[in-house]
Amino acid sequence: MHSPSQLKRDFLKQWLKGLQMCNYPKKEMSILERKKAIKLSADVAMASTRNATSCWSLALIANASKDGNNKCLVEHLLGQESERLKMASTFQLAILNKKLRSKKIIKKSCSVRRVKKLAPRMVLASSVAKRLAKNRTQLLKSLVPGGESMDEFSLIKETLDYIVSLRVQVDVMRCLANASDLLNCKGVHG
């Protein structure tokens, strides 16, 4: 796994590239438009540092590419990688859907046997606990990109990776914002 500082450098490089791409064509953007562009380039940059090794990054890129306006930007940002990443994400989505469908089939065929399995107390406790946590996992699924199609185990693994990347993203963005603030103040008063 990359060291955090290496990750920050990679993210910053990709993000600045994206910002320049966003800002170059239209100098006169509304604040809201500019904010969306900044956020989009940050998200895509963050996903690209993962280099297709995690589900959430592929899902993020796939979602970003769905919007017609963003599609060009995403493709330019990722450059040569974009075709490969797009193929990887469609491939992955197909596999996950297949897994989900076969899981449902197995569940249905085992449902009769479920009643007998509940007898041992430890199994009962863990299945009850799992059912209680279902609301929480549903919530987490909605927060992590691509989470809806993951099973519980992968969801937690993806969340770990996602949180690390989000922290890097927040740290770098905060540094840039503070630095720009300082520079701007200096410019006004200096």
């Binding site: 998200d43 046997r113 905060r174």
Partner: protein, 92 residues
């Protein structure tokens, strides 16, 4: 055939339970709320999941706020100063 399937799913869930516990403890270490407030290991998985959701949501909000802040900064930048040209050359 259905015997094999039900045995298989029982085996799978046994493996997954242990590994889920391990992953949940990793999550515990990542989330500052839990790491700072509770020294003991007695945090339920449900609580960890809840704090995880809160943490992810707060990170999302921060990204949003920072994007807004940067956007306003870029909009109000004083065009003449040398400092502004640094920022402009970086970002624009």
């Amino acid at each position: 055939m259905s015997n094999r399937r039900s045995r298989q799913s029982a085996e799978v869930s046994r493996i997954t339970d242990d590994q889920i516990i391990e992953l949940v403890s990793k999550l515990q270490q990542l989330i500052p709320e839990i790491r700072n407030n509770r020294r003991s290991n007695k945090v339920s998985a449900s609580k960890v999941l809840q704090e995880t959701c809160n943490y992810v949501r707060s990170l999302h909000r921060e990204v949003d706020d920072l994007s807004e802040r940067l956007s306003q900064l870029l909009a109000t930048i004083d065009a003449e100063s040398p400092e502004a040209s640094i920022i402009r050359s970086l970002i624009m």
